[in-house]
């Protein structure tokens, strides 16, 4: 009940949420495919490749935060690593790339592994 009251008091803009999450999703699918190319060229196999994917996705999140969120968010008085100005859930922001880009990652990973080590 309290959350509904909160939304009544400080409403959110649906279009902005859609726009922000679409921007993040596009960026993360592109970079996930890119990491697949990188992992394929490096010749990573099994767990190493997935570890590489997890670490690089987190680094991408931090890069996105530093370039797109941090300047205006910190200027408006939010704490560092607080994404509530642009995204509803912090967990959603930091982990959405892991599931969204995995298919693209595996696709380009296997493709480039096969191309390089033919």
């Amino acid at each position: 009940m309290s959350t509904e009251k909160d939304y009544q008091i400080s409403p959110v803009v649906q279009e902005s949420i859609v726009h922000n999450s679409r921007t993040l999703f596009n960026f993360q699918s592109l970079t996930a495919s890119l990491f697949g190319v990188c992992a394929g060229i490096l010749g990573l196999e099994s767990y190493t490749g997935f570890l590489f994917y997890i670490i690089s996705t987190l680094l991408t999140c931090i890069l996105f935060y530093a370039l797109r969120i941090a300047p205006s968010s910190i200027a408006s008085g939010k704490a560092p690593f607080d994404t509530s100005r642009y995204f509803r859930g912090a967990f959603e922001f930091w982990t959405s790339g892991l599931s969204g880009g995995l298919a693209g990652f595996i696709l380009t990973w296997t493709l480039f592994y096969g191309l390089v080590r033919a």
Binding site: S10, P11, V12, V13, E15, S16, I17, H19, N20, T23, N26, F27, L30, T31, L34, F35, V37, C38, I41, L42, G43, S56, T60, L63, F64, L67, R68, I69, S76, R85, Y86, F87, R88, F112, L115, V116, R117, A118
Partner: protein
């Protein structure tokens, strides 16, 4: 801003293509060596890891492309209504440009506009006075011309 992002991404892609080609050549050379080796003491493909410079080039190229792509993403919009409306009020269309410098399609305009065009709050007497002055001044102008 957009040309910085595009050149950075392009430069990274060139680096990545070069690294990919180098890695492919390296593995082709390794397989050629193992098949043409005279001594049969080491049969099978001995896994030779990639040279350090190719690995470094791949990683650096990936980082550069990521940076370029992140620079090219359109700016985010505040999700809280009051912050969002305040941004429109302050910056107008400037705050809602996409990367190519055009106003994005789902820009809805100032949400406070309906407050400023309420017909009940129109100062009708002042408008009437302005109109009367305009009529008088244009009439004087015409007389002066005649």
């Amino acid at each position: 801003m957009t040309w910085i992002s595009k050149t950075t991404t392009f430069f990274g892609l060139v680096l990545l293509a070069h690294a990919c080609y180098s890695a492919q050549e390296h593995s082709a050379l390794q397989s050629f060596r193992t098949t043409s080796a005279v001594n049969p003491s080491s049969p099978g493909t001995t896994a030779v890891s990639l040279p350090l410079d190719i690995s470094l080039e791949t990683l650096v190229a990936t980082a550069i492309i990521c940076f370029g792509l992140a620079l090219g993403t359109p700016p985010l919009r505040p999700i809280q209504w009051r912050v969002w409306a305040g941004k429109i009020e302050r910056e107008g269309e400037e705050g809602f440009m996409n990367a190519d410098g055009e106003v994005s399609r789902d820009y809805v305009g100032n949400p406070f506009k309906m407050l400023e065009t309420r017909p009940g709050f129109v100062d009708i007497r002042r408008q009437k006075k302005d109109f009367a002055e305009w009529v008088r001044s244009s009439g004087e102008k015409q007389e002066a011309q005649i």
